[in-house]
């Protein structure tokens, strides 16, 4: 992007964003669907979330436009992921036209030929990287994997453990997530979930927690039945085991943040076992939704220690409190590989507690489950 005036692009984007990011995104999609009506079917009926995503991606690209090291992997991932929507290389110019028209529309008199040329050049580079990555991915993996729900186990009224079967194994790494589209119950809506098993097989567990008003989580927890179809996108995520490390492990999980930990524990077991502490936290006794499986794991692996704590239920006879506080207070974890997964609030609090007790930031890998 050396010959592009990136400062002008940033300035222009900031000025355009002042019209309200949602209004800008609305204009963008309206123009796109007007000029290229065939693209409408790639999106869900409700577009609110989609607009947020577009604006988020654009903002990230524009703000990182000078840092190619950051930008390239991100747009390549975007390109690889976009294949599941049915995005073809022919769609990239259409989106480019819609983007430039939108920017021109909101720029008003500030729009100049050189600005237009710079945006076109920048978009060309991004689109090239995206479609290049998509093209490369198409040689090794399908755009998405067809799957079927073969078991629905509602553990509480808002947590379900689904057993999912794919036609062929999805090549994820334990701890990584895949995007899931409930094709039968809520088509064209995709949200991230983490398989709770080590990879290799065609069946895995999916732990879904209902987010009030969440399109996909509501569909999966309340409406799914055995036989329902799903589609799974390509796996992503950096919360995976460091194969080179021989340090002991600390895993801190809140609610369905347990899923990646179970997958990694299974992987650790396959690799021969490593001293591992799993701290699992829930609000109430019922929300200790996978207690049987945890007890079985504890029984099965000598190198594994499991601590379960409940924060808000007087019936619980075990330890009470927030799981991050309990884990941080229990021991010195500064020699461990640390993994944290749960709600944004839980992850923030737990990481803070662990850092305060001397754990280094570089030791911790964490993932939040979104508001799906």
């Amino acid at each position: 992007m050396s010959d592009i005036n990136t400062a002008a692009l940033k300035e222009n984007f900031a000025a355009v964003a002042e019209h309200g990011t949602d209004a800008v995104a609305l204009y963008f999609y309206s123009y796109l669907f007007l000029r290229f009506p065939e693209t409408r079917d790639m999106f869900p009926p409700g577009m609110t979330k989609q607009r947020d995503r577009l604006v988020g991606a654009l903002a990230r690209i524009v703000s990182n436009v000078d840092q190619v090291d950051e930008l390239v992997p991100y747009v390549e991932d975007l390109g690889r992921d976009h294949r599941k929507f049915g995005t073809l290389s022919a769609h990239y110019p259409a989106v480019g036209e819609a983007l430039l028209t939108t920017l021109r529309h909101f720029s008003g008199s500030a729009w100049t030929d050189s600005l237009a040329a710079d945006w076109a050049a920048a978009y060309g580079i991004i689109a090239g990287a995206m479609s290049g990555a998509a093209e490369k991915a198409s040689q090794t993996e399908p755009a998405c994997w067809d799957a079927e729900i073969i078991g629905v186990d509602r553990r509480t009224f808002d947590i379900a453990v689904l057993t999912v079967r794919t036609d062929e194994p999805v090549p994820y790494v334990a701890g990584q997530s895949v995007s899931v589209e409930p094709t039968t119950t809520r088509a064209r809506e995709w949200r991230w979930f983490t398989p709770a098993n080590a990879p290799g097989g065609t069946d895995f567990e999916l732990h879904a927690r209902l987010v009030p008003g969440g399109a996909v989580s509501t569909a999966l927890v309340r409406a799914s039945r055995p036989g329902d179809k799903l589609r799974l996108g390509p796996p992503f995520g950096r919360m995976t085991l460091d194969q080179a490390s021989e340090r002991p492990l600390l895993m801190v999980a809140g609610s369905t943040g347990l899923a990646p930990m179970k997958a990694m524990i299974e992987q650790v077991a396959r690799n021969g076992g490593r001293p591992t502490h799993l701290y699992f936290g829930a609000r109430s006794v019922r929300e200790v939704y996978d207690g049987t499986a945890l007890a079985a794991l504890d029984e099965c692996h000598k190198w594994l220690t499991i601590v379960t704590a409940v924060s808000d239920d007087i019936r619980w006879t075990g330890r009470h409190g927030l799981i991050g506080d309990i884990a941080a207070a229990d021991d010195d974890w500064s020699g461990h590989d640390v993994y944290v997964c749960g709600s944004p609030v839980m992850v923030e609090a737990s990481v803070k507690q662990l850092l305060a007790t001397g754990v280094q930031e570089a030791q911790i890998k964490f993932e939040e489950f979104g508001e799906a």
Binding site: L26, Y27, Y29, S30, Y31, F33, L34, P45, G46, M47, T48, F157, D158, L210, P212, G213, G214, A215, T218, S284, R286, D313, I314, R315
Partner: protein, 245 residues
């Protein structure tokens, strides 16, 4: 007919050129125009032509500018109408999308509200049941503790009574022993008294009887003494058996 001199100083017309007349030159017999008049006329004509040319150029320039402006205006009108169509379509689509979004959002909000209510109810129920469970447990514990206390009390009471009874028995035994000793003493004293009385009586009888028959009296006295001693031995055995009981 126009007199050359009378031509308007600021301009000249074709008709004026056609109709122009000059005075006859003075000093010549015939023919020839007054040279000064002709020169003046030519000068005025040249000025007029120059002025006309300038005006023509200016007008041509104005025309060009006007034409360009018209073209620009025409372009803009074309573009505006095109842009307007696109804008209209975009705004129709935008409105439609907003409507769709709000419908979906309403559904999702409804679902969110229902779920939030359900969760609240569930949490309330969970807390209440937990509290109830705890209360029940506390009550059960209280009942148990109470029962335990009572049992302990009863046991203690029983032990105390047993001790009392044991004590009472010991006292009774002591009393009984005392009475036994008393009775035994009484018996022995009575026996001594009786033996003494009977011996006195016997002595009196034998003295009375001996005076009558001394030989028979000695024999009867020996027999009576042996009988007396044997009959007093029997109650001693009876008292001994009570003491053992």
């Amino acid at each position: 007919m126009t007199d050359a001199i009378s031509v308007m100083p600021e301009g000249i017309t074709g008709d004026q050129l056609n109709d122009v007349t000059f005075s006859t030159a003075k000093g010549f017999a015939r023919g020839g125009y007054d040279a000064q008049e002709v020169d003046t006329f030519l000068l005025r004509s040249a000025t007029a032509v120059d002025r006309l040319n300038d005006r023509l150029t200016a007008t041509e320039q104005q025309l060009q500018a006007a034409t360009a402006e018209i073209q620009q205006l025409r372009d803009r009108i074309d573009k505006d109408s095109l842009t307007n169509h696109v804008q209209q379509a975009v705004s129709v689509l935008t409105t439609a999308q907003i409507t769709a979004d709000s419908t979906v959002a309403q559904a999702d909000q409804y679902s969110a509200r229902v779920m939030a209510e359900a969760r609240d109810l569930y949490d309330d129920a969970r807390r209440n049941s937990a509290i109830l469970e705890q209360e029940t447990e506390e009550k059960a514990r209280a009942v148990f503790d109470d029962a335990l206390h009572r049992v302990t009390d009863l046991e203690r009471e029983g032990n105390e009574r047993l001790a009392q009874i044991t004590m009472t028995t010991a006292v009774a035994q002591q009393e009984l022993d005392g009475q036994t000793v008393y009775l035994r003493t009484l018996r022995d004293a009575t026996r001594v008294q009786m033996v003494t009385f009977l011996e006195g009586l016997l002595d009196h009888v034998s003295a009375e009887y001996g005076r009558a028959n001394p030989m028979a009296a000695d024999r009867a006295k020996a027999t009576a003494k042996a009988t007396l001693n044997g009959s007093v031995t029997v109650p001693t055995g009876t008292v001994t058996s009570v003491t053992n009981g």
